[in-house]
């Protein structure tokens, strides 16, 4: 019932397909650790550098739950310093560049955190951060300022009386 050739060939193909991520993304190959751009003026972070390096994602997760769900705003660090729990103001206030700080390390580790779907580095907010979406912003469609409310008024289909 079982044909040796088929079975062994099948196993080889299966391993080749299943191992695809390893050779495609060159896992295990040496890449130099990226250089991160550190803030010029500010030397102290919210917590110690070691803690931040290991746990910044957990800290941010705890922050977002505290801010969104528990209405808290101030974080008092282990050293007793106060910070506003705000990615835009506090974190990105010092680490002004997403590309030269966050992404360098994330890219190196091949993680894609979904933060940037909604958040952005304030200094980079002016640029459209997702240029692959080719829709013109309203300003270029010739709408004057304040037209939005007009649109809200007239856009909706008139109904019954």
């Amino acid at each position: 019932m079982f044909n040796k050739g088929w079975v062994i060939g099948g196993i080889i193909i299966f391993v080749a397909v299943a191992a695809f991520p390893f050779y495609w993304y060159q896992v295990g190959r040496d890449k130099p650790f990226p250089e991160l751009e550190l803030p010029a003026k500010e030397k102290r972070c919210v917590e110690s550098v070691d803690f931040m390096r290991a746990n910044h994602m957990r800290l941010l997760d705890a922050w977002r739950i505290a801010v969104v769900r528990d209405d808290l705003l101030i974080y008092t660090s282990a050293k007793g310093e106060n910070f506003e729990m705000n990615l835009h103001k506090t974190c990105m206030g010092c680490h002004t560049s997403r590309d030269r700080f966050c992404n360098r390390c994330h890219d190196y580790n091949n993680v894609v955190p979904p933060c940037w779907d909604c958040h952005f580095a304030p200094s980079e907010a002016v640029k459209d951060q997702r240029p692959e979406v080719g829709v013109q912003p309203p300003a270029q469609r010739g709408l004057r300022p304040g037209a939005r409310s007009e649109v809200i008024r007239v856009n909706r289909k008139g109904g019954k009386s």
Binding site: R156, K157, G159, K160
Partner: protein, 386 residues
């Protein structure tokens, strides 16, 4: 037993490949929707639920109808159903898989779907659906599979399988009731907010399931050597007929309450459905078709001569199924949003993307059902004494 799936004639493989092609097309459409966002569907901020959620509702009903086969067999010892229980249980497996996929296609953030089990929310009716649907699917798969295995080895059912069977009976009712509660518990949607919703969900389910089973049994009989007795078919017809009549009664009750009391919040949607409002009447033909189909199916099935004539019976089943599908699978969900909360009319036509994805999901479900039926039929063909 699984190896039976891979032994089939030419017709079988053509059918399987056609379904697989359907799945592929649906998958492509889904990837398109995933890339573009939900704007490629026909839904809007006013009609925020559409074709997907409708299909989910209809298919959960078909799955719940397994009760109408299991109950006579195990509580009333109606032996003729022993041959079709596995068919009906595997039908439930396939339809539940489809309904879960329909929910999955409907959410805007599918990658976050695990947030539902990670944040169990007992006050949300959708939560109960996410518990009861997969549960029922697994239960039926286990029961069906072990029952077929036992039949093949000609041993009696294990005691725990019997326990599962008894568990599956109330489970079916609860599962479809919480589906109805999704709708019946929304303030401000007059069309949904009626206590008859859950009972009507159950009776439409108990009509749709047997109708589909009769059609399937007939198809299987013409394609294979597996025979379902006339006695079993006629019992299904009786169940379906009563369910249809009760459904018609429930509908009548609903119409009376709504139109006689004539509270605008409740009548407006019905007015839109039956006559259209200000020329907006996309659902009017569907509504009339549905009511008509219900009456025609009942009319055909009450005649004894008609229901024992197989072609007429099949026609009646198809008509009933179309009516029931329009009811739950097309009109019920979008209609509640028309007119919207501001009293405006925003109509909803499903877009081609929605239809293609739905086609893919139906193809996948049919594929699963085909495979499972293949096993059932092969085993039954072996064991039945011809």
């Amino acid at each position: 037993m699984l190896e039976k799936v891979f032994h089939g004639g030419k017709g079988y493989w053509v059918w399987v490949l056609a379904l697989a092609a359907g799945v592929g097309i649906g998958l492509m459409a889904y990837l398109y929707q995933l890339r573009e966002g939900m704007w490629v569907t026909g839904m809007s901020r006013d009609v925020s639920w559409g074709f997907y959620i409708s299909q989910f509702t209809f298919l959960v009903g078909v799955a719940a109808s397994v009760l109408m086969v299991v109950l006579p067999l195990y509580l009333h010892d109606f032996k003729a159903f022993a041959r079709i229980t596995a068919l009906s249980q595997f039908l439930a497996v396939g339809t539940l898989l489809m309904s879960l996929l329909f929910i999955f296609s409907d959410v805007g953030m599918p990658m976050r779907i695990l947030n539902v089990p990670l944040n169990p929310t007992p006050h949300s009716m959708l939560f109960y659906d996410t518990v009861f649907l997969p549960g029922f699917m697994v239960i039926n798969l286990i029961i069906g599979w072990t029952a077929i295995g036992a039949e093949k080895r000609e041993v009696p059912l294990q005691w725990w399988v019997k326990g599962l069977i008894y568990l599956s009976m109330p489970w079916a009712v609860v599962m479809h009731t919480v589906t109805a509660f999704i709708y019946a518990g929304t303030p401000g949607r007059g069309f949904w907010m009626t206590a008859i919703m859950a009972p009507r969900f159950l009776v439409t389910a108990f009509a749709a399931g047997p109708a589909l089973l009769i059609i399937l049994c007939t198809a299987i009989k013409t394609l294979t050597h597996f025979v379902v007795t006339e006695r079993a078919i006629q019992k299904l017809v009786t169940i379906m007929l009563y369910a249809l009549i009760i459904d018609a009664f429930f509908l009548g009750v609903e119409y009376f309450t709504v139109f006689y009391a004539d509270i605008p919040e409740y009548t407006e949607t019905f007015q839109y459905l039956f006559l259209g409002i200000d020329g907006d009447c996309a659902l009017v033909p569907w509504t009339w078709c549905m009511n008509l189909a219900l009456l025609v199916a009942i009319g055909l099935l009450v005649i004894p001569g008609a229901r024992s004539n197989r072609p007429v019976l099949i026609a009646a089943c198809i008509i009933a199924l179309i009516g029931l599908w329009i009811d739950k699978g097309y009109v019920l969900v979008p209609a509640a949003f028309i007119p919207n909360v501001f009293g405006r009319i925003m109509e909803y036509p499903p877009s081609w993307v929605e239809l293609t994805i739905s086609l893919g999901i139906y193809a996948l479900g049919t594929l699963i059902i085909t495979a499972l039926y293949k096993v059932v039929i092969s085993v039954k063909e072996e064991t039945q004494d011809l």
